[in-house]
Amino acid sequence: MSIDKAALPPESGKTAALVVYVLFLLSLPSIGLLMFLGVIVAYFQRGSATDWVRTHFTHQIKVFWATFWWTALGIVLWLIAIPLYLAFGLGALIHLGIGVAGVILAIWFHLVSLIGILRLVQDRPY
């Protein structure tokens, strides 16, 4: 991309980064759909943002992929554990572990998004 970084306004992309954080925070009630929308916005706005805003977009993309792959692993393990209820009690153990890990993942996701919003509105890089 041939964007002249020096010609960018000093807060270029700040509103888009704020929108992405809000979409992240609304992703749990929307069963994760708004998180996909947010990361698409982040990918599109990353190139045209100033340096300190671009750190926020990079952070959002990292958070998205971490959440995505951990959730995918949890879903696969959940499906594997269902027939294990018939073999022995291992299925319940796996489901319990997935539930605890999912709560921890959700808390981490919301905390990281809130911290990002707070730093963004103070004009600080992540």
Binding site: L26, L28, P29, I82, Y85, L86, A92, H95
Partner: protein
Amino acid sequence: MSSNPDQQNPESEAESASEAAPHAQDPVVETPAEVEAVPESPQEATAEFFAAKPLHALEPDPEPAPEAQPAPAAPEPVVAAAPQPQAPAEEAPLFRSITSGPRKKTKPARPKAAPSPLQPRELEPEAGDFDAVFEARSDAGLGDRLTPTACYLLMLFSPLTLGVAAIPAVVLAYMNRETAPAWMAGHYVYQIRTFWAAVLIALAAIGTIFFWERGIIALAFGVFFNLVLLLGVAWFVLRAATGVMRLRRGQPIKDPRAWGL
């Protein structure tokens, strides 16, 4: 034969105990005429014995107390006092399923003449072997439990499908509730009530969405939505998990109309 109440399970029901009497006393018989009446194969014997008996009453006797023992409080010395050369109860696994592959047919035949009247009940091949009962009735390892097990597994699958998979589960439960035996109908009632309670919880959580426009309390309702949904899903999954594990052991739901775990 049945004049020996000490060998019966004191916790089992009275009518099942009276029917269980000929089977439980089979190794004790010594006259040849009665030995002839013993069924040939253990599968036949199992099917005949458990034909009219509720399946949840098939738990092995926790305290086998022959009449030679003065008190039924010492199960370990009983086993040690009568060691049998054939102990198929140890080879038969307690928990078997369709995932464990076909059942091996290496179970030795029951001895026609019992060597000792003090032979404890738990060394008999059929005592407490639930899977032998189910396989005597059908070739599928789960037997009659197949439908309620499928309902439970659909309920466990349903959080990944946003609850859609719970609908065939509850339909199956409604269809089979009337014709199932009593202990299995309890499982169906439990599934149906779990389903409708989860529907109410989901509606309550979704209902908080309509308060999100009200300015400053939007965040509070967002947190409330997430908490209600999280706890509701956890309650639903735990109910299904505990239910399928009780069904796996052949146990009934103690109170199908209760809302706890």
